[in-house]
């Protein structure tokens, strides 16, 4: 694990992507197959489950450090990362022990079965033996929020270099939740006979946001224009009579969507469809909150299935009759998709075609985009008719062009320190609007949207205008007004203000406004009526 800890440190210590790639390549060159596989899994975020609850970890660490529990908590608030806090408070290591990374991960995976004293014995021994870098990595493996500071694209790049393979082929092989213990480098990356990887999705092709004018894209006739829906991006795979549904975040969601179960037989083998999974009724999508209430459930009741019936709005075909057709122009892929969806009588009607919108000029698209909410979508997707289906986020072939967000002016009332890069800095804010009684009621939390300079300035102000502290949260004097942007607004019984926002973030700091000029709760209710009417 020493070498892996060193890799972690090397990646952590540079902001330059070339150095990061080089560090990974170096690591792979000097490692055995098994260690490499486990490392790759960690690098791309296939992390082990948390084997011990965090309260116990905190207690054990505080005990070893000889500090009271409250002082550990105070320290943790400042550091903003549990594994780092533990690493820092523990006494210096006793030996320079080193264990193979795969062994450590497997022992940790077996930990949940052990009694508490045995768990403690194992973890404490490692804490005291491992040097600071390893101790941090080891604890990160336990706390579960393991992020290496490299994007998947960089890992793919390094692997492609190491294995002398094409990058997009590597990206494809890395897809899906493979288990390091069950693989070798050979089994993961070599060409394989059919039927061994039926579950494996293709890397999703992602669009950048269109920044400039659409005229820069050339003739409108070269483009497909579709509604951009607010559902879950998914990949639907039927191979050898089996169905697999993957989300963009690479969660296997097949069991969450019983609506689609019949497709294993209805679709021909060797079919992979890309589309948006979304609750749908009476010819139009339902608000995203409807989806949220069902996605978190382990067991779905009949009622939930009825209240939030799902469809997939299909927009691309990646594999047809067992052949990868991603290099074909979109127009060709789409024609097959249209034929496919028209030809099979999908009794349940769960597969819909993403309709293309007919416009003659870009300015018509602009008008539609501005009113997108009225058409139950969040904007448009622009896809070049001759575009191949790319890997990851690429510029050129596809663009997303979203409608302008809704905005409300809110008053900053609470601040909480952030995590990671924002640790020990007040970066997580709660905003309020005025209710009828003249009190401020919180309606949104937002973490992003300010520049580092603004964050520093606000942090300084918060520290000097704190009314009260509750753990990591401070209430502050109502003084600053911020324009909050969001994509959707719904009534909610779970929120104090009675409203739930979708993707709230700070649009700008309204230094020109006083708190009296902030919006009111009745403004929010009117907005709900207007948007969802």
């Amino acid at each position: 694990m020493k070498r892996f800890a060193r890799l972690f440190t090397a990646i952590d210590q540079t902001t330059k992507t070339n150095d990061k790639v080089a560090a990974i390549v170096d690591y792979l060159k000097d490692s055995d197959d098994r260690s490499s596989l486990y490392a790759i899994a960690l690098l791309i975020g296939n992390r082990p489950k948390r084997p011990v609850n965090t309260t116990l970890l905190k207690q054990w660490a505080a005990e070893l450090a000889g500090i009271p529990f409250w002082l550990f908590e105070e320290s943790y608030h400042v550091v903003g990362d549990l594994a780092e806090s533990i690493t820092l408070v523990l006494p210096p290591p006793t030996t320079g022990a080193d264990y193979p990374l795969p062994d450590v991960i497997e022992r940790l995976a077996g930990l949940p079965e052990l009694e508490e004293v045995r768990k403690k014995e194992f973890i404490v021994r490692h804490w005291l033996e491992l040097d600071a870098d390893q101790r941090f990595v080891f604890t990160k493996l336990i706390t579960g929020n393991f992020r290496m500071g490299v994007s998947r694209q960089l890992v793919t790049k390094a692997l492609a270099k190491h294995l002398d393979m094409d990058e997009s082929a590597v990206a494809h092989r890395l897809m899906g939740k493979w288990v390091a213990a069950d693989e070798t480098l050979e089994s993961l990356f070599a060409e394989r006979p059919d039927g061994t990887r039926d579950f494996q999705p293709y890397p999703f092709y992602l669009a950048y946001a269109l920044e400039g004018e659409p005229e820069s894209l050339g003739a409108i006739d070269d483009w497909y224009i579709e509604k951009k829906l607010d559902g879950i991006r998914g990949q639907l795979i039927v191979r050898n009579g089996q169905l697999f549904i993957w989300s963009r975040g690479e969660d296997l969601l097949t069991d969450k969507f019983p609506e689609f179960a019949g497709l294993a037989n209805a679709l021909p083998d060797g079919t992979v469809i890309d589309g948006e999974i979304i609750p749908w009724r009476d010819g139009r999508p339902l608000p995203f909150q409807v989806m949220q209430t069902r996605i978190g459930r382990k067991n779905l009741s009949q009622r939930q299935l009825k209240e939030a019936p799902l469809v997939m709005v299909c927009y691309d075909l990646l594999e047809w009759q067992g052949t990868d057709i991603r290099e074909k122009p979109l127009q060709g892929r789409r024609e097959i998709l249209e034929t496919l969806l028209a030809s099979i009588k999908l009794a349940h009607g769960v597969l819909l075609l993403s309709a293309t919108l007919a416009f003659n000029q870009w300015n018509e698209v602009e008008v539609f985009r501005k009113q997108a909410r009225g058409f139950h979508c969040e904007g448009v997707m622009l896809k070049r008719r001759d575009s191949a289906y790319g890997t990851g986020r690429r510029k050129g072939g596809w663009w997303k062009w979203k409608t302008d967000p809704l905005t409300v002016d809110g008053v900053l009332i609470y601040a909480q320190s952030g995590h990671g890069r924002r640790a020990n800095l007040y970066t997580d804010y709660t905003f309020a609007v005025w209710d009828d009684a003249g009190a401020l009621v919180p309606f949104a939390k937002a973490y992003s949207g300010l520049t580092d300079k603004e964050i520093a300035e606000l942090d300084n102000w918060i520290k000097r205008h704190t009314i009260d502290k509750f753990g990591p949260v401070r209430s502050v004097t109502p003084h600053h007004v911020f324009e909050i942007a969001f994509e959707g607004i719904q009534q909610s019984t779970r929120h104090k203000s009675g409203v739930a926002l979708r993707f709230p973030r700070i649009l700008r700091w309204r230094r020109d406004k006083s708190v009296d000029e902030a919006n009111t709760k009745s403004d929010l209710l009117q907005l709900i009526a207007a948007v969802n009417g």
Binding site: Q13, F72, E74, L88, N424
Partner: protein
């Protein structure tokens, strides 16, 4: 009370002097030359001999300044005032005040670790001790400075071998000189940002000389190749810095103990190098004074005061002084 915590600063009514006041007063005792302690507009300044040139550099040559040596006693209206080494930076001092057998010590900023430059900290026995707590949490336990300097030199050598310049960011007064003192001249040339060169020039007047050449418009860019360049944190993101390309850059500060702080700076390396006490040093220092009343300022006042009360049975109180949120560029 011999000392009071007022909105102008720490005040001794009996002697009518303020310690590190932040608003204009007639008589000020200054612990050291950092700008959050040595402010403009005081009628008279009393400070250590080595702090005087720094005050004149920063506050103007015309200030009325009474320099004293460590342990030299000045008696004001019956109050014996003396300065004692604080180990923070060159000329830094703790202030000891004694009146009718009662002894107070105001530590100012201080550290127990040695930097090879400032006169090492000496504990002073007292009844009442005012301590900072910039790093008053158990997550702050700093590595041995000599090890940090060794790492720094190794990093510089590696950068030079790869054709990069090495930019080291540290506060212009104190940290920069500590870095300069420990850079290995065998690795390559050393250059200075103007702010660091100005402080060095002021320190040269009291016989403290440091290596390094000031970078000016005339400096030959080829001469800078593979060099170490010492600059204040404010250089980060400035046009001046762009001229140092190609470079790797490191921040030198106690805050670099935390990954988040380092990543926020967007630097390649963070060297944990502080002119303040870490957790262990604070605890040792408080114990060594023998004080039974401790006033905790500047930093994690709440947690450190509570820790002293619960673990050491000391009557510790938190004191919130105005305008004293330390920024990450200092310390």
């Amino acid at each position: 009370m011999l000392l009071e915590f007022t909105e102008r600063g720490i005040f001794c009514p009996q002697a009518d002097v303020y310690i590190d006041p932040w608003k204009p007063v007639a008589h000020a005792v200054i612990t050291h030359g950092h700008s959050d302690h040595a402010r403009w507009g005081m009628g008279r300044y009393l400070c250590h001999r080595d702090t005087e040139p720094i005050l004149r550099l920063r506050l103007g040559p015309d200030i009325v300044c009474q320099p004293v040596d460590y342990k030299e006693t000045v008696i004001v209206n019956g109050v014996s005032i003396s300065l004692h080494p604080a180990g923070h930076i060159i000329g830094s001092a703790q202030v000891r005040l004694e009146y009718k057998g009662e002894v107070w010590v105001v530590s100012g900023d201080y550290k127990l670790a040695t930097d090879g430059l400032s006169q090492p900290y000496e504990p002073v026995r007292c009844h009442h001790f005012v301590t900072e707590s910039t790093f008053g949490l158990p997550i702050y336990r700093f590595p041995e400075p000599l090890q940090v300097f060794a790492d720094m030199n190794a990093w510089w050598a590696a950068n030079a071998a790869e054709g990069y310049n090495t930019v080291l960011l540290g506060y212009a007064l104190g940290k920069s000189q500590a870095i300069l003192q420990h850079l290995d001249p065998a690795i390559g040339p050393v250059f200075l940002h103007g702010a660091v060169a100005n402080v060095n020039a002021a320190l040269a007047t009291i016989g403290k000389d440091f290596r390094g050449e000031r970078i000016t418009a005339e400096t030959d860019r080829n001469a800078v190749k593979g060099a170490a360049i010492v600059a204040p944190p404010s250089a980060l993101g400035s046009p001046w810095l762009r001229k140092m390309v190609p470079y790797r850059i490191a921040m030198c500060s106690g805050w670099m103990q935390l990954r988040g702080a380092r990543r926020r700076k967007g630097v390649d390396r963070g060297f944990v190098l502080s002119d303040h006490c870490d957790w262990d040093q604070l605890n040792r220092a408080v114990a060594a004074t023998g004080a039974d009343q401790v006033y905790v300022t500047h930093g994690y006042e709440g947690p450190f005061a509570r820790w002293l009360r619960e673990q050491h049975g000391i009557q510790a109180t938190e004191v919130h002084l105005q305008g004293t949120e330390t920024t990450e560029d200092e310390a």
